[in-house]
C-alpha cells in the first residue's frame, strides 16, 4: 500500500471516528466511551462499505489508532482554546492507576502527544507501540502481530516507553533526549 493510500485511509477512519464519537456523547450524556469501542464500531461500519480498503481488523486498528490519537489531541486543543461550549473531550488516567500511583491529575493529552513525538524521534517503533496500545486499545499480543515483533519485545519496549513518557510528562528532562 502506498503512502498516499495509507494517508487516505487515515482520513477516512478519522472522519468515521469523529462522527461516531459525537454521536455517542450526544446520545448518552454523562458517559464516556472507550476508544476501543469506537474503533470497533468504526471498523464494523467501514467493513460493510462498498470498497474494502482494509485487509482485516488488526490492519484497520493499526491505522485507526493514528486517527484516534489525532482526534483526541485536536479535541483537547480545541478545549484548551475555548474552555466553554459544546461537547468537550477529556482523557483521564484510568481509575485503576489512581489507586496505585500518585498521578492524581488528568493526563494532559497535548503534553502526551508532544512527548510521544519526542519519543518517536528517538525510536519510532516505541512510540508506535504506545499508539497502538493506548490509542488503539490493542493488547500486547495484537500489537506484536501488527508490528511483526515478538510479544516479549513489545512488552519490554512498552515498559520502557511508559517509564520514559511518565518521566517526560512529569516535566522532567526525558532520558536520552
Amino acid at each position: 500500500m502506498s503512502e498516499r493510500e495509507i494517508g487516505a485511509l487515515i482520513e477516512e477512519a478519522y472522519a468515521e471516528l469523529h462522527r461516531l464519537a459525537d454521536g455517542y456523547l450526544r446520545r448518552e450524556q454523562h458517559k464516556s466511551v472507550q476508544a476501543t469501542e469506537l474503533i470497533n464500531e468504526a471498523y464494523l461500519r467501514m467493513a460493510k462499505g462498498p470498497d474494502q480498503h482494509f485487509q482485516n481488523r488488526a490492519h484497520f486498528v493499526a491505522i485507526a489508532a493514528i486517527s484516534m490519537r489525532r482526534l483526541l489531541v485536536e479535541r483537547a486543543r480545541a478545549r484548551a482554546a475555548a474552555k466553554r461550549g459544546g461537547i468537550q473531550v477529556q482523557v483521564t488516567l484510568d481509575d485503576a492507576l489512581l489507586r496505585g500511583g500518585n498521578e492524581s491529575e488528568v493526563i494532559d493529552l497535548i503534553a502526551l502527544d508532544r512527548a510521544l513525538n519526542d519519543l518517536a524521534r528517538q525510536d519510532a517503533e516505541q512510540a508506535r507501540i504506545v499508539e497502538l496500545r493506548y490509542f488503539g486499545g490493542l493488547s500486547v499480543e495484537e500489537t506484536a502481530e501488527a508490528m511483526h515483533l515478538s510479544a516479549a519485545t513489545v512488552k519490554r519496549h512498552w515498559q520502557f516507553a511508559k517509564a520514559w513518557l511518565l518521566v517526560a510528562l512529569e516535566g522532567q528532562r526525558p532520558a536520552g533526549g
Binding site: H30, K31, S32, Q90, V91, L97, N102, S104, L166, G176
Partner: protein
Amino acid sequence: MTVAPLGPDSNDFHRTRDIFLRALELEPGQREAFIVEACGSDSALLARVRKLLDAHVRGERFLEHPTHVSDPASARPSYLAPGQMIGQYRIERILGEGGMGVVYLAYDEGLQRFVAIKAVSPAYTHDSSRRERLRREARAAAAVKHPGVAVVLELRDHEADFFIVSEFVDGETLREEIQRGAATLVRLIETATGIASALAAAHDLGIVHRDLKPENVMRTPDGRIKILDFGLARIGVSGSDGGSLTVEGSVLGTPAYMAPEQIRRESVDGRADLFALGIVLHEMATGVHPFRARDQASTIARILETEAPPLSASSAGQSDGVGSTAMRAALDAIIRRCLRKRPADRFASAHELLAELERARDGRGASGAFAAGSPGPQRWWRVHHLATCIAYGGLMVPMWLAHKALDDPGERLGLVLFLATLGAAVASIVLRLHLWFTASSIPGQWVRQYRHATPWLRLSDSVAVLGFLVAGAALIVGNTQEGLAAVLLCAGVVAGLSFAVIEPATTRAAFDQDG
C-alpha cells in the same frame, strides 16, 4: 558485567534503554547495584536510568487502560491534588477509590496527625434527599464508639464539597492477607471475634454496614481489626432509590458479599452483615469465595440458591495441631450458620455469634475439644504421661551414679549433666501433670493450655534426652561403669523415640484423629 561509559552521543537513548531493560530482568533489590556498575562513571546516565526505574515502579498502571472519549459533565470525580488544603487538612495522596468517590490520605495540620478523607462524588450529593441521607448515615457512623470501627471525625458539607474525614487506619486489608494464603484456625477465630464485636457495637445502634468485604476490613500492625466505611458504602443502592442491581451494583462494587435479602432488595438488618462475615471467613479459611462462579450473574445465583461448601475440604488449620478437628468443626458450623439463606436461620445477632466464637476458641464448640476424642486412646495418653513421669524420676538414680563415677576432684561434667537433667525432668513432669489436670478438670481450656505448654515440654524433654546420652557417652569414653553407660544410652534412645514418635501419635489419637 562492565559497560563502557558513553559520551553524550545519539546512542545515549538506546544505551539508557538497554540498561533499563536489563535491570528490569533482575529482582528489584538487585537493580541499584547493577545500574551503578553498568553506568560506570557516567553519572548523568545513572541518574536517568534511576529516574526511569522509579517511574516504572510508580507508574505500573500508567497508560495501561486504553483511552476514553468522555463528556466532562460526567459523574467522574475531579481529583484533589497533593498539597491542596481542605480546611486544616493537607492532601497527601490517594488511598483508594470506591463507588462513592475517592479516599485520600491527608495530614491534619491542627492536630498533627494523618486522617483519611472520603470525597463523595457529586453524583451522590447534588440530589438533596440523597445528600440528607448521606449526612444522617455519616452522623450515625460517627456515633459508633468501638475500637474495631474506624472513627468518623468530621463532616465537611458545603456546596459542591462533601467530605467525610475519618481516622486513618494503617495496616493491611484482609484481601491482602487472603492473597497470601489461608489463615490458621486460631487466626480465623481471632479475626471473626474482632469483626463480630465491632459489628455488635454498630448493630446495637441500628447501624448496618451493608458492604462488609475483605477490602473493608483492616488489620493494624499491632494485630487489631478495624472496619472501614460503616453505614456509607451502600447508601446509593437501597430499595427506595429504585434502579436495578446490575446498574447501581456495578457502580458501587461487586455484589459478591451481599446477603440474599440484599440482592432481592428486601429489608436488611444486621444479619446481612453476618452473612457477609460468613463469606469473608470462608474465604480466609480456604482462599476461595464460597459462591465463586465464572461471572457476576452466576455468583448472584449461587448466593441465592446454592449451599456453601463445607470447610473440611480445605487446608485451614492444618498447622494448628492438636484440637484443630474440634475447633474446625465448631468454626465450620459457625460459618455455615452465618451463610444461611434466610436471615432467621442465622445467628440472631452479632452478640450471639460472639458467644459461639468464644466457645469455639475455648474448645467448647459444638462438640468440645477434649471430649471429642475417643476414650481408649485418651486412656493411653494418660498412661503414657504417667509412665514418662515415673521413668524420669527413676532415671535420676543412674544419673546420680554417673555423676559420682565421672567426677574426680576438680571435674564438674557429671554434676552439670546431673543438674541439667534433673531440672529438665522436673519441668517436664510438672508440665505433664498440668496437662493431665487440665484434661480432667477443665477440658474447655485444654487446647489453649496444650499449645502454651508444648514448646516448653519439647525443650525440657530434649535437654533430658541429651543429658542421658552425653552422660552415657562420657562413661564409655572414661572406660568406667559400662553397665550404667548402657542403661543411660538406652534411656536416651527410648525417651528420644518416645517423644518424637509415640507421644505425638498418642496425643493425635486421643484428641484429633485427623491430625
